[in-house]
Amino acid sequence: MRIAVIGGGITGLSIAYNLAVRDAGEIHLFEKNWITYGSSTRSGARFRVHFWTEENSRFAIESIKRLEKLAGKMEWNPIIYRGGYIWLLFNEHQIERFKETSKMWSKLGVQGVFLEPEEIRERYSYINVDDVLGAFYGPQDGSLHHDYVCFGYYSLAKKLGVIFHELTPINDINIVDNKVKQLKTLNGVVDVDVVVLATGAWTNELLEKIGIRLSTEPVRKEVCLTEPYHHFIDPLIIDMGSGAYVGQTLKGEILGSIDYPTPPGLIKLETRLEFVIKWAKAITKRIPSLKNARIMRTWAGYYMMSTDNSHIMGREPEWPEGLYVAYGYSGHGFMMAPLVGELLAENILTGKTPELMRPFLPTRFKENKLIQEKLVIG
């Protein structure tokens, strides 16, 4: 069997690796730029297991386990570090909702801790808690090195014989008798039996060419990074009041972002000064000692938002035979991709839908079985 994976980000790499491990046949991976180019390399490089819905939480827990297991095998150290996430809460309503959801988290074995303002001050003396009512701390969440994870998968997949076509955009997918047949590239035509679209924000363009529409849209998100400083912020701090988040990378840089209205679509990946100023204001209020930090770089990437803020994987029965998708992560793709690759590979090879994957099928939109994930950061 000849399988083409389109997209050389974390999802494509994970799928290609998992297919190769299962001896799926001849696997080709097409990437229009270089490996990691799209949203993977622009990621905030964090993972969490705390989601609003049980489906997503369960998925993330398993996914990180897979990545940790794989870490020892990779040629690259994914630098997984569980520094925790802390959500600063500002009103009774927020606290109540977190308390309610935390019952589900405890059931899944990822208990968090509720902190009173004094406790926050004790643990993280640098946080200004004057207007904070409480906080939820999730110790299981943390950070990873996004590029190294991708490179790790890349080198594993390469060893297993996956054929990489970098700098090779796919212009068209030929369908014959409701079956995927060929991929058109600049260098010619490739015959294929299975096509997996792991093309993130660029998926709609390809799907529309074969007449498929799913309600997803890319939204540009901007990120700020400061010069490196001596490490002092362990968790990722999410300010539920201003919508800002901030954390420190293991290299020492302080990274963060804030909600800022942006029209949807594949708009140019540039950053706005107005956004930087808004973030600077929010974050120096929360952590006053960051006033002396200097912003070194800003960049932008896309969140591929789906209507229920959860990823889409697998296929619909009516679709051309051999066509699969894995995208629409709505901002939390990096943490989900290790498991997505594994489940989708099983699904493609056996035709069976694994239990964990079932809620995320594209058919959920027609069947109105939406997941409704409310905890999206940034």
Binding site: W34, Y229, E274, P288, L290, R294
Partner: protein, 595 residues
């Protein structure tokens, strides 16, 4: 001779007392702290990030923030801060025990499979690793400063106040357009200020040229200037500039931009090329001529070019002995060498010797080896256009052998949209070409803004420009012009990196000073991992992600990768620079009362 040492005016300023690790040192209020310390023999300004190596300053440019020094309670670039009475400068000379023992833990790779496989060990290791890097503290410094944000409107913004920039600004304002000059240095003039030799091709003397243009600029009501202000690049919504001195962020509004950022003298790659006492070519001229600091008795100049000869001659005139070395076999300029000093060609490897500063240099060449006593080393092998802003703008860059990565522009000095370039940033050698390009850029910008009457003048200037290009033998510009008319970029050919002075990758030959990345790190990435795109090398090692934003390392890294992988430099490519191209403190962005 006497006249030679008479600068435009005396730049000594008043005497002040500063303290280096508790020792009282005399400085002058007009001197950067780094320079005052160096002149008194205190050359170490800080330690490097990973390997805790002693570091001084490579250039006086405020954008080259490769080492931060604790002055008072702030960590700053000591080249950006001028001496003030009672300043305290602290340098920590100790190396943490863990770094001494486990320095390999901090290498660019982070490849510790033994640790990773054992999850408990990894957890212990990662806790240590995050504390091991030598970074400034931000946490314990009291944040009491406030900044401001000011909006400035002008018809044209000229970035850079050197020969090209000043000419452009004056030409634009003569057409009745409001002009704003932004320059990062303390006063306008650029190279004219510190290179005391005449500008090639210009019929008048340097002194006359500088005074004439400065008088014109200062008496012109249409021109405003912001000195000690760094243009920080184009955000999607606004172009910005930032002044550390004024604690101000400027939001610029203009109809056109003329970028004349000049060139960057690239650091040479040789063993121990990071220790204090190794300087960029222009910085040495600045120190010797403008600040009149006694740098030592003996110097080594790396690189044999017309530019090196100018430096050698000026060092010689201030009583410094010069030895010049180069890796090439070029004999063309050797004839002029006898009057400036000794010369060693066909050099294969250079090693700087010394711990806290350069003391000696070992030179291995085809005919044997030499051991020289030197007080400082000048990197003058190669200058690349300062393309940081243009790279951030996503403009096309083309590699030209011997010139570097050059932004693709046409004869009208037009880059893209409403942006024009002139001078060193366009790749032109320091000469009358800078002047003509300044005029052309200004006229084209004015034309774009609606001054259609200048058209015949532009054509006339371009004719003159073409003649001068021919006279000065700058043939490669035609290739740049040709590329500006088509979408495709012509391939360049493989070249030996002009800054490379090692025979094999070395652990002590650095490419990136901010992140402590050596030639060995890069060679491992290229050979073991097979990455040959600079974007991927950057992502695996962190090269070009440090505080200097790749200003000093990007071109060197690209040329070195191309050398290792036998690809031509345009295939290796550069990495994308992002706004802001120089870092801006958060208190300025946050506290900014808009005015």
């Amino acid at each position: 001779m006497d006249n030679f040492f008479n600068g435009i005016r005396d730049r000594q300023g008043e005497k002040v007392s500063i303290f280096y690790c508790g020792r009282n040192i005399e400085g002058y209020s007009s001197e950067p702290v780094s320079l005052a310390l160096y002149s008194k023999g205190y050359k170490v300004l800080g330690r490097s990030k990973k390997l805790y190596r002693f570091r001084g300053f490579y250039s006086l440019d405020p954008q080259d923030r490769i080492v931060l020094t604790k002055i008072g309670d702030e960590y700053v670039n000591a080249c950006e801060i001028y001496c003030q009475d009672g300043q305290n400068i602290e340098v920590d000379f100790s190396t943490p025990f863990l770094v001494k023992v486990f320095s390999s833990l901090l290498d660019g790779y982070f490849q510790h499979r033994r640790f990773v496989k054992n999850r408990i060990l990894w957890r212990l290791a990662v806790d240590k690793i995050k504390q091991m890097a030598n970074h400034p503290e931000v946490r314990h410094i009291e944040a009491r400063k406030t900044g401001r944000i000011i909006r400035v409107a002008s018809d044209i913004v000229v970035v850079g106040g050197g020969l090209a920039g000043l000419t452009a600004a004056y030409t634009v304002s003569q057409l009745g357009l409001k002009t704003l000059i932004i320059d990062k240095s303390i006063e306008l003039g650029g190279r004219l200020r510190y290179d005391y030799m005449d500008v090639p091709g210009v019929p008048v003397s340097r002194e006359y040229l500088l005074e004439d243009i400065l008088t014109k600029i200062s008496s012109d009501g249409n021109i405003k200037t912001l000195t000690r202000t760094i243009f920080t690049g184009f955000f999607e919504d606004y172009p910005t500039a930032y002044s550390q001195e004024e604690r101000t962020l400027y939001i610029l509004k203009a109809k056109g931009f003329i970028i004349t950022t000049g060139v960057v003298d690239l650091p040479c790659i040789f063993r121990n090329n990071d220790i204090p006492g190794i300087f960029s070519a222009s910085t040495v001229l600045e120190m010797v001529n403008r600040y009149r600091v006694k740098l030592g008795e003996k110097s080594l100049i790396i690189g044999l070019s017309q530019n090196s000869l100018r430096i050698a001659e000026q060092l010689k005139r201030s009583g410094i002995d010069v030895v010049m070395v180069d890796n090439s076999r070029s004999q063309s300029i050797q004839s002029d060498l006898s009057r400036v000093g000794e010369c060693i060609v066909n050099v294969r490897e250079i090693e700087a010797v010394g711990r806290k500063c350069v003391e000696k240099a070992n030179i291995i060449h085809d005919d044997g080896r030499d051991r020289l006593e030197v007080d400082f080393i000048v990197c003058s092998a190669f200058s690349n256009p300062d393309i940081l802003i243009l790279n951030q703008l996503d403009s096309r860059l083309i590699y030209i052998g011997g010139v570097g990565f050059v932004p693709v522009h046409d004869e009208y000095m037009h880059l893209k949209d409403n942006i024009f370039i002139a001078g060193g940033v366009s790749g032109s050698p320091y000469s009358i070409l800078h002047l003509i390009e300044g005029e052309i850029a200004a006229l084209s910008a004015a034309y774009k803004l609606g001054a259609k009457e200048v058209e015949p003048l532009i054509e006339e200037k371009i004719k003159e420009y073409r003649t001068k290009l021919n006279e000065m033998n700058v043939k490669w510009k035609n290739k740049v012009f040709r590329n500006s008319r088509s979408e495709l970029i012509e391939n360049s050919s493989f070249t030996y990196p002009p800054t490379l002075f090692i025979e094999r990758p070395r652990r002590d030959a650095f490419i990136c000073f901010c992140e402590d990345i050596t030639t060995e790190d890069i060679s491992r990435t290229v050979h073991e991992k097979g990455y040959t795109l600079l974007e991927l090398v950057k992502r695996s090692l962190g090269v070009c992600t440090g505080r200097c934003q790749g200003r000093l390392c990007m071109v060197n890294a690209a040329l070195y990768v191309s050398y290792l992988s036998n690809l031509d430099p345009s295939q290796v490519g550069l990495t994308k620079a992002r706004a802001p191209v120089t870092s801006i403190p958060l208190y300025i962005l946050a506290g900014g009362e808009e005015e």
